[in-house]
């Protein structure tokens, strides 16, 4: 699997996203500056967290309209894989890759803490190595992570099993107390129609080492690597 990390002015989890595949697979990703139109033939494009353009105007709004996003769009339309984390999720929603929007947290404040995620579908390139219903401990760090969409969209997301992760209690129950940012239906991450684009507010790249408290997040990237390598292998053999 070849990965690329997009860097916008104000991205600040780009280093973390860069080191993620490096630590897990020993393979450094390509770093793609926002003005570039070359994704360097990456299989997986990671849009990292941070405050692209200072989150001025609206989180992700300006990054969504930058030159590189046209290439990311073309990549996705070709069936390429895209993972947007935190600000990356906001950018994917602003770009129209994913439905809905991320509103201000219901606390009206920035929230950084470890949360418990429940995997809601194993049927995606990013969750293939996980069991449906399994739990992960991953940090959140955002001011605008309160997922919202209209009723019709929600029904569709649920019907197509496109909710990838929900915020749950340590026992694995959806409950108001553990849905810190107030997301609709406790949604923490969603998939595109073809399931190859995932946007999620929590940071799996920050939870991939026991030293830092949790290595649960590594499963997201490992799943993607397995799915993509299998597909590439099949293409080669076929």
């Amino acid at each position: 699997m070849k990965t690329a990390v997009i860097e916008f002015p104000g991205s600040n989890c780009d280093h973390d996203a860069y080191e993620w595949p490096l630590r897990l697979f020993g393979k450094p990703p390509e770093r793609i500056w926002y003005t570039s139109r070359d994704l360097k033939k990456a299989d997986l494009v990671i849009i990292p967290g941070g405050f692209s353009y200072g989150d001025y105007l609206r989180c992700g709004a300006m990054a969504a309209r930058s030159p590189v996003m046209e290439e990311v769009k073309a990549h996705a339309e070709r069936g390429g894989y895209v993972l947007g984390i935190c600000n990356g999720f906001q950018i994917l929603c602003e770009s129209g890759f994913l439905p809905g929007a991320l509103l201000k947290n219901r606390t009206l404040s920035f929230l950084c803490r470890e949360v418990v995620l429940r995997c809601e579908t194993a049927d995606s390139p990013f969750t293939g190595a996980l069991q449906k219903g399994s739990l992960m401990r991953v940090p959140i760090a955002h001011g605008d992570g309160n997922y919202y969409c209209d009723e019709k969209t929600l029904r569709r997301l649920l019907g197509e099993e496109r909710v990838a992760f929900r915020y749950v209690s340590p026992e694995g129950r959806v409950c108001d107390e553990w849905n810190f940012n107030g997301s609709m239906d406790a949604i923490a991450g969603i998939l595109s129609e073809n399931r190859r684009v995932l946007g999620m507010m929590p940071h799996p790249e920050r939870a991939s080492e026991a030293l830092l408290g949790s290595s649960d997040g590594a499963a997201v990237l490992r799943s993607a690597a397995k799915a993509i390598d299998e597909k590439n292998g099949a293409a080669k053999n076929g």
Binding site: P9, G10, N12, C13, H15, D16, E19, G49, G50, F51, Y53, G54, D55, Y56, S109, F110, L111, C112, R113, E114, P139, A141, G143, P170, H203, E205, R206, E209, L211, L212
Partner: protein
């Protein structure tokens, strides 16, 4: 615009006294121009010149085998081995934060970050020490919310984790809060950048944000007391833009990778004036600048305003001649201005032009480093001896410690700071091993086995009762916190927050505090490598408690040796290291439960502290301790309760058995004797710990066992109290949110 006529009266309005006016006229050999007067007023302000404090600060121990850069630069630098070094400093932003808490605190973070990255270091950790007035004061909740949001939004946006700090409440801060921001950065030991304007003909580049009229005379504001008219000073507070600072940070670090920079400095307090004068002053050079070339964000600005503006997110770079295009290219990539506004000269003078007209022509050295220095009168405060007398005989001891413990855990000064730190990004950059809530923050250094520990400490009540001993205790507690993670304390930065230095009792407190910090730093072998003095923390003549905040940095050679602060295993033995005498003077218990703030702070034996700190490192190295936690504010019972609370809420309990031997119970449980640590270990390791402690003369007492769910207390074998940990945690967690929910 017609400039005002420069007179002794105008100088007085700029905060310069008659003596200083005469001195500057002598230096120039004439009456200054209006811009020159502005330059003198900020450069000789207390904030920039340290004119009241310099004579005392000379006493600090500032050197050591690991010190690569001591005080006098933008930040201190300490060697951590393998070619790496850490750069750190702490700075106050008290006055602006009181006037406008959000922007005041935010720009405080922005300023300290620039001080660190200007040295060539990538900032990897922020901490902050805050002090607010009593929670019931009508302004307190608003100030807390603004300050915390300001710190959070700036650090979060720029992507530097906030990993620790402290919050203290006391009525003495009702009219003058404290916001002290600390940043630590990582750099290669042989790639330190400094604020030097050397090499005649080298171009002087202005980079970063454009200049506006914000913050004019911020440094002068920070050098005067507040009154009820303080609201009118709001326009002197700067406005922060963390997004631009992020671009500036990346652009500066990228340019530093190329061979283009001679010297670089942040335009902080007193903006373009202080950066240009200090850089030229350090190098013994002159500087020529054309102010009309400065990128401006508004029209009609005068030379005076451009020189004194404290617009944020700007730096001054002296580049190597011939590398102009390199500088422009990097900054253009990041969408920032980079304009050559002048050059370094050999004249030793600052010559500043405005559309071809010379508006400033003055020698650099007398302005930058021959500022007035005062040995201001010092006198022990009246009532000092009286407040130190504490007669406990009239105070009944308690029979039931449960109620006191419950109240202590939920009180403003001891309750959980979760409400604060969940608003800070603690984990960005994926280095945070121990974050807020730990004794010291621990941040790993990628590519090595090392980790850096950091702790900010001061107990203002101790410093009020005895500025000398209180300051020593601040250094000792910081070092102990560092050592509780297993790390070795290396060096400190400080932020000395005091009242008006023109009052003799404030100056007495300041001098005693500097003596105290110096003596403890000598004893613990932790030199002072950077720091900041904030005077005039007074409103309507009421000063704050002397508050010398200490920021200690330590090194853990192997992060696998780290020791957490909370209990780890059921059945582990709980050991108290250090001796309990039951010292109640200056304690949180006396203040909270009995409303008494008297007595002397606990005595500190520096040699014993050093031995304990070395023992803690040894216990970590030999992997004998499962947890180690400093026992300070709130005393032994509060420390044990804190050990029961685990970060994920899977709390443990403890059964604690103490011998009173005729001592007062309140002193035994809540006394704040220094040099103590609550440790836990497996039953198999306990004997080894006792042996190691005995060999070193450290008292080590088994005081109990880690159990589930409850905190049970036996005194002299008799059950004294049993509280449920979940109830205790509920109290501890509810304390802080209840303070801020009144708004």
């Amino acid at each position: 615009m017609v400039e005002p006529k420069v007179t002794v009266e105008l100088a007085a309005a700029h905060g310069l006294n008659a003596e200083e006016w005469a001195r500057l006229c002598t230096i120039l050999g004439r009456v200054p121009t209006y811009p020159e007067l502005g330059i003198f007023s900020v450069m000789w302000s207390e904030h920039c010149s340290y004119k009241s404090s310099r004579i005392h600060l000379k006493k600090f121990p500032t050197s050591g085998p690991l010190v690569l850069q001591g005080p006098g630069e933008n930040a201190g630098v300490v060697d951590i081995g393998d070619g790496w070094a850490v750069c750190f400093k702490m700075e106050s932003h008290n006055h602006p934060s009181y006037i406008e808490p959000y922007q005041g605190a935010a720009t405080g973070v922005g300023g300290i970050l620039r001080d660190v990255f200007t040295m060539g270091a990538r900032p990897i950790a922020n901490l902050n020490a805050l002090a607010f007035g009593q929670p019931s004061h009508p302004k307190t909740p608003h100030l807390i919310k603004g300050v915390v949001a300001g710190i959070g939004d700036y650090g979060n946006c720029i992507g530097v984790p906030t990993v620790g700090g402290q919050v203290f409440f006391h009525p003495c801060y009702d009219g003058n809060i404290l916001v002290n921001a600390f940043t630590l950065g990582l750099l290669r030991a042989d790639k330190i950048f400094r604020g030097y304007a050397s090499g005649a003909g080298n171009p002087v580049f202005y980079v970063g944000s454009k200049t506006g009229r914000d913050g004019i005379h911020g440094a002068t504001m920070a050098s005067a007391e507040f009154s009820d008219q303080t609201e009118q000073k709001r326009p002197t507070v700067q406005v922060g833009d963390p997004f631009t600072e992020k671009l500036l940070l990346e652009a500066c670090l990228e340019l530093m990778e190329q061979d283009a920079i001679v010297g670089i400095q942040d335009m902080g307090a007193a903006g373009l004036t202080s950066s240009s004068f200090e850089m030229a002053g350090r190098a013994g050079s002159g500087i020529r600048m054309e102010l009309d070339k400065v990128p401006m964000r508004e029209t009609g600005m005068t030379p005076y305003e451009i020189l004194l503006s404290e617009s944020q997110e700007r730096m001054l770079i002296v580049a190597k001649k011939g590398s102009e295009e390199k500088v422009k290219k990097v900054f253009s990539k990041w969408g920032l201005d980079a304009v050559s506004i002048g050059e370094v000269t050999e004249t030793g003078r600052a010559e500043i032009f405005w559309h071809g007209e010379k508006v400033v022509d003055m020698p650099v050295a007398p302005v930058s480093d021959q500022a007035p220095m005062y040995d201001r009168p010092r006198k022990q405060p009246s009532g000092y001896e009286e407040q130190r007398r504490l007669d406990l005989s009239a105070l009944p001891d308690f029979r039931d410690p449960e109620d006191a413990l419950m109240r202590m855990m939920g009180c403003p000064n001891l309750s959980s700071r979760r409400w604060v730190y969940t608003q800070y990004d603690q984990s960005v950059r994926t280095n945070t091993v121990f974050g807020p809530g730990s004794d010291a923050a621990l941040v790993r250094i990628k590519g090595t086995k090392k980790a850096v520990a950091m702790s900010l400490d001061v107990n203002p009540r101790y410093c009020h009762l005895d500025p000398y001993e209180g300051s020593r205790l601040a250094v000792a507690e910081a070092a102990r916190n560092i050592a509780c993670t297993g790390a070795k304390p290396l060096a400190i930065t400080d932020c000395l927050n005091f009242g008006n230095p023109e009052r003799d009792h404030v100056m007495w407190e300041f001098a005693a505090s500097v003596e105290g910090l110096s003596s403890a730093c000598r004893e613990l072998e932790t030199p002072v490598v950077s720091g900041n003095v904030s005077f005039y923390n007074e409103t309507n003549g009421e000063g704050i408690f002397p508050t010398p905040a200490v920021g200690m940095v330590g090194l853990l050679d192997d992060v696998d040796m780290r020791v957490p602060s909370s209990f780890q295993e059921l059945g582990d033995v709980v050991i108290l290291l250090g001796r309990t005498r039951g010292h109640l003077g200056g304690s949180e218990y006396l203040s909270l439960i009995h409303n008494i703030e008297k007595g002397t702070p606990p005595p500190l034996d520096g040699a014993k502290e050093k031995t304990l700190i070395e023992l803690l490192q040894l216990l970590a190295k030999e992997r004998l301790a499962h947890s180690m936690h400093d026992c300070s504010e709130g005393g032994l019972m509060v420390a044990v309760a804190e050990c029961c609370f685990r970060p994920r809420g899977d709390d443990l309990g403890a059964s604690i058995s103490l011998q009173a031997r005729g001592k007062r119970l309140d002193g035994l449980l809540f006394g704040e004797d220094a040099t103590r640590v609550v440790a836990s270990c497996s039953p198999e390791s306990a004997q080894r710990i006792f042996d190691l402690a005995r060999e070193r003369g450290v008292e080590a007492t088994p005081i109990g066992t880690v159990i589930p769910e409850k905190l049970a207390l036996l005194i002299d074998g008799q059950p004294m109290a049993t509280v449920s940990i979940s109830e205790l945690r509920a109290r501890w967690e509810a304390g802080f949110p209840s303070l801020v929910s009144r708004l």
